[in-house]
């Protein structure tokens, strides 16, 4: 993952660094609350029959949005001790490449195209968990050939970003390849928080844009397929 953007002055670079370490305040988020459901019965069951518990992935917590459309299931890998989040929604663009943040943590997690995100060894026991999810506000499908600067219109966008567009320019002479993305949105002054470049099913590049501009250093021979905007 590479961070892009070139602050020209010292104050700007300082702000940029601070912004990376602070919790991102996404604008369009959905808050998820603890969904009181039956937790895993297996330890009880197996323990009752005198056997050792055999639950490789134990359910730690399930969160749901107020409209019950989002469901975030957090499982714990009992062998490694790591947590995994599974974001469920009927619409694919709501769970694919969606940012997940937790109330008491500055960390942000991005789901993959299956809606899964590795949380690692986070502590979910200390306080009532409240999470926010931020799906992309606009999705742009990137064409296969980027020979010169091109303007692209979103394949999906919410109301605010309907008229937005991207100007993408690939600098082939540079090593590594550099992709310049400039977001153009005439009406709204909303600030973009993240631009995510989806390279394939697994690899994604996240950038913190400054005034709608982001530069991505691309791995060799990899052409991005999609660019998502988050506000």
């Amino acid at each position: 993952m590479s961070k892009a953007g070139k602050p020209k002055e010292k104050s700007e670079s300082k702000d940029f660094c601070c912004s990376l370490c602070q919790k991102t305040e996404f604008k369009e988020t959905v808050t998820l609350f603890h969904w009181y459901t039956q937790t895993s019965p297996f330890p009880y069951l197996l323990g009752f029959t005198g056997r050792t518990p055999f639950e490789l992935y134990a359910e730690k917590i399930t969160l749901a949005s107020a409209d019950r459309k989002f469901l975030l299931r957090i499982l714990k890998d009992t062998l490694s001790g790591e947590h995994q989040a599974y974001l469920l929604h009927e619409e694919a663009h709501k769970y694919q490449n969606t940012f997940i943040t937790f109330e008491h943590s500055w960390k942000e997690f991005l789901t993959d195209c299956q809606g899964q995100a590795r949380l690692g060894r986070i502590d979910l026991e200390l306080y009532p968990v409240k999470a926010s999810v931020c799906p992309p506000c606009a999705i742009f499908q990137i064409p296969s050939f980027l020979n010169c600067a091109r303007r692209i219109f979103p394949s999906y966008a919410n109301e605010n970003w309907k008229n937005s567009s991207l100007v993408m320019e690939l600098f082939r002479e540079q090593t590594p390849l550099t992709l310049k993305i400039q977001v153009e949105k005439p009406e709204v002054e909303s600030e973009l928080k993240r631009i995510v470049l989806i390279l394939n099913n697994r690899e994604r590049l996240i950038a913190v844009p400054r005034k709608g501009l982001a530069l991505f250093e691309l791995p060799e021979k990899v052409i991005p397929v999609q660019a998502n905007l988050y506000e």
Binding site: W35, L56, L71, L88, C113, Q116
Partner: protein, 792 residues
Amino acid sequence: MNNQNHSPSSISPLQMENLFNQTLTNISSALNDREKVCLIAEFLQSTRPLPANLTYSFHLQLAGLFLYLTANFQPDCCPPEELKIYLSASRYLQSRFVGQLEENLFRESQNNLYFYLALNHFYLGELEEGLTALLSRQEINNETSSPSKQEELEKLKKELTPILPEIRQNAQNNELIVKVLFDHLKKLAGLDQDLDLVMEKWKSFSGWRDDSIYCCLVESSGLLKSAERARIISLESRCRRSTTVESQNLVRFSNLPAFSKEEIYLSATDAMEAADFSINKHFRLTLPPCTLIFSFSEKNFRYSGESLGLPLALIALAQKLLSAESRYHLSFSREAAFTGKIDLTGEIKPIEAEGLGLKIKAAFYSGIKYLVIPASNLKEARSVLFNLLSRHPWRKLELIPARTLEDVLNDSRITLKKIDSYARYLLRKKKFTMRKWLLGFLAAGIVISSFILINRNPSYHFWKIRHPVVLEVHNGNLFARNQERQLLWVYRPSKPIVAESLQQKFEDLDGDGNPEILVSGNYKSDEKLSSEIFCFNNKGEVQWSFRPGKRIQTLTDEFSNHFIINRFEVAAFNQNSPEKKVLIIANHTTWYPSQITLLNSRGEILGEYWQAGRLGRDTLVIEDLDDDGWKEIILAGTNNDFQSACLLVLDPRAIIGCSPSSGNPEFQFKDLPPGKQEYYLLLPRTTINKVMGIRNYVTLVEISRQDRTIDVTTAEYSKEMDCGMKYSFDFNLNPLLSRPADSLIEKIKELVISGLVPPHALTELRSLKDRIRYWDGEALVNHPVRNKKLNF
């Protein structure tokens, strides 16, 4: 499996979550592992068409439990179709979570599932399918697919195809078919272990047992839930004689769920009554009440119903007969399962059609051969069985309809009746009484035998005075008697002893205060005599024995080993020591050598001296002649070498060698050293003695302690007549006088008058003492002298 309809295409995450939670709830209330597996498989199957991202976390969450359960459960009576669904689910999970879960989990799960798939196919007689499942299992274990195995299987199938119909036709049941098949399969390397495992499982459905019986029961899911599945389960029982005075049977179940206890106890009480009724009717027995303890072979088996009645009654019957130690013994086949209600008279009542179907299904998919059902249910049972057979035509399950308990007991396929012989029955039943009688007889026998034994053996006559004072010989045996002439013991020697030869002495040899008994005697023999001396304790036990003589040789002759004890004497030779020694004088039975032997108190030889002539019986005196504290042994007799009477004195410390020799090789002992006698005297022969051509010899040696003289009497003319000389010696063996007996003088006078002897024969008698010769160790001299060779 239940087919729950879900709409896979239109399901929200929340609905999915709810469905999942519902599944979890069902799993938590599932009866057993098989049901849990079934529920998970259902969930997986129904949600598989849904979008992958939606189901991912739910399937992942259930995968661990599913794999764990399928790797460990034992679905014995499971249709292969059901197992195939589980296998499919396991493979689906493997394809989806291959990187996230350990490979081993999938392998173990499929390993177990394939084994039970094979087993259940074999139960159903589907041999090819069973083999395929076993080979698949092997492939999983080897982690590689082996085309050669498949080829081998194909080849095997080709080989088996022509013979399978014949095997199927000849074999009575699927187990035998499988056995024959397995014999053919031994050549298929790698399957041996699996085949053994299959046969091991099948063994649980073979043999006869009197303490357990297979029941075909519908498992209850709970109070509100309908029954879904029947099981073949083993009901175990043991009977204990009732210790209470109550005249009714007691029933206990060691593992039963609380909600169905009352119903089952009622059913069991009826079954016990039916068993008693049947025992009375069938065996003509009235058995005492007892306590029967039942338990299912599985701890968590939940049952409620009445079809347990028949197996309960049967096992109660067998156990009651067993505990009452009756002649009759019942066992029930492990190839059969039983189900049916029973009334108090042993009549088997029908069961519900729904349960019957489930039971037949359970029996059908297990390894049992017979299912015993109420006769009234036969028609519907056949219908169910027919339906099942349409799917699995090779399964050989026989339905046995029974109207009463009698029908079951009389069917030799499912009931084994043994009747003990009366003798064995009595031995078993009356064993305590018989043991008592036997012990009584044994004790009486022991007492009588003891009386006889004691009476016959005087050694055990404890009431008698145990000190023998005399020994007698009767029929060659030695009889010891006490002072009251009571017989104390009898000793039977190897050969009979001549009564006349008996010599005995009672001496305390070992100084323990109890005198030992020394007895010598000659053995009767057709040939030459021999003798032996015994040392007994007062109980008649031989302490030691000694047989005199040996094969002694001169330079020209060899003497046979036939010596008889002439006399023996016991003495403490050293005045400073209380230890007593035994001196034995033995003469050769026919020839001249005599043996003088000194033994210690333990019968060990201390010294041995050989004399070339016989020694007399009354010519032994033991006396300390030189006052040195050691008693000398004074002996006399005749010397064949010198042809005259002789007198010798031996020191007990030096009893060795042989008497002096004249140099005549005929009398010169071979391999014997010169004798260490203290004195050796040759008494002169008289003229009459010479004229008559006989040897003179000493007949008597006496000692006078007061005068310190030794008086020696010889026989010069005849043994019968007192025609001898008398010599007197002091203790240094100096001759004091020699005097003829009056009868000798008279006889000589007669002979002189008749001219047979010269006149000096009479005059020489006074001077004979001067002609006594002494052996000085080297030669004979005419003056008194001690043996120079003796060092002390």
